[in-house]
Amino acid sequence: MTSTPMPASTAKTPVAPGSVAPMDAGLQSGPLSSPPPKLATGAPMIAIDNVSKWYGDFQVLTNCTTQVAKGEVVVVCGPSGSGKSTLIKCVNALEPIQKGQITVNDTKVVDKATDLPKLRSRVGMVFQHFELFPHLSITENLTVAQRKVLKRPAEEAKKKGLDLLARVGLSAHANKYPGQLSGGQQQRVAIARALAMNPVVMLFDEPTSALDPEMVGEVLDVMVELAKEGMTMMVVTHEMGFARKVADRVIFMDRGEIVEDARKDDFFGQPRSERAQQFLSKILQH
């Protein structure tokens, strides 16, 4: 199976000028994950409570508080150096925090008793630079954590991995190595790799920032698909077209603080803070 261009029908949604490349990449039909019911109420999937973080004397996060409900898609944006990537890495404890608490799926992240590897195995993460393992084939990349962490039998892991690879339209590349794939293809594999762990929530740390412009669309397509299936997602991105299309809420950060935390329509309609207004006008004007 190879990726086939999708009909132009995907471009129906109005897109902010210059923000999103055309959605042209091939996606097989069928769900990427088993869809949880889309609920915006109940216990939050991610609760970030008064989080502060310092690098030495330099404070990178200041009293950040927000929540992500089950099934919600939250886009985090802001100028570079605003702490948005740091914040998302705190959610699965890749970065330690010095103050505050983060709760993921009712498990406290900052707690000596917490089994961090177990917690992280349920939190999918996609990185700016893909971070596929270059010495392993695509299939091995998709199965290694399933086997080692979830202790799935090799057969089952392989089936799951190849299934997801098909869903992101890359079955033909199963036996290749990451270095033989384009950036966009690598990122789609990285998303499939995270999904293979049956995550309850997916974190995306600038998933399209390192891509050539013509490859942004194929990755966003996969993410849109995922959002539509009801996956809980926290996405750090500058892709405002993506935010308009699928986000429920938008968080705007600046200098380590959450400046604005609003429903999508409110954020794009009339951002309350001046800094958010300036930011939007800058990134939307081209």
Binding site: S121, G124, P134, H135, A145, K148, V149, Y177
Partner: protein
């Protein structure tokens, strides 16, 4: 000028030189390199760990070994190991471990210091995002090292590890101080017995050169083949 030399002595002693001498040299090199790489990798991981005590012990060990002449270490261990063995087992007499075991332990411990520096560079050459990705998938420290970091570090550093092994191959000739018969030792014995010093040492030099030069050549070819495409 070569009319006084008799190179026939070389051919007569070939079975002894290679059957015993070279077999010993290669065995010692392979075992010491294998164990040295394992110990060196553990030392490198200890040095890169954030654990204060562990980190410093490893650092002191590496620095100490790298600051001492190999011959001295060989002597030291030959005389010390029996006493350490006696101390550890509570025996009343020094425990005889034999010259070969003593040499093997010495070379392993000594080379581990050099291998650890190579592996440390190798581990540090792996981008931090790789460990981040492994942790994010729920892997433990051990799983991250074994499946993600070390295989890549090892492949990146394979040419250097092999080059160091070639150096070790030459260094094993120092076992003559323990009266062990390696390749050079065997050549030396024949030379003394037959009074053919020039012929035998010349031949030994040619063999060492041929082995090491072709090994270096193979390492360079290998380097191109194992490189990971990024």
């Amino acid at each position: 000028m070569f009319s006084n030399f008799d190179f026939g002595v070389v051919f007569g002693s070939l079975p002894y030189l290679f059957g015993q001498g070279m077999v010993f040299t290669v065995t010692l090199t392979a075992l010491a390199a294998g164990m040295g790489v394992i110990l060196g990798t553990l030392l490198a991981m200890a040095r890169l760990s954030g654990v204060p005590g562990l980190k410093h012990v490893a650092k002191v060990y590496v620095e100490l070994m790298r600051s001492l002449p190999l011959v001295l270490v060989i002597f030291w261990f030959y005389f010390l190991v029996p006493y350490i063995g006696a101390y550890l087992t509570g025996a009343s007499r020094p425990i005889q471990v034999g010259a070969f075991s003593s040499a093997l332990i010495t070379f392993t411990l000594f080379e581990a210091a050099y291998f650890s520096e190579i592996m440390r560079a190798g581990i540090q050459s792996i981008p931090k995002g790789q460990t981040g990705a492994a942790y994010a998938l729920g892997m433990t420290y051990a799983q991250t090292m074994i499946t993600v970091v070390l295989p890549q570090a090892f492949r990146n550093m394979l040419p250097l590890l092999l080059t160091q092994t070639i150096v070790l191959f030459q260094d094993t000739s120092l076992v003559y101080v323990l009266s062990l018969t390696d390749f050079l030792g065997a050549a030396s014995k024949v030379a003394q017995r037959d009074g053919r010093l020039v012929e035998m040492y010349l031949f030994a030099a040619v063999v060492y050169f041929a082995v090491c030069f072709s090994a270096s050549f193979l390492v360079r070819r290998l380097q191109r083949r194992v490189a990971i495409i990024r």
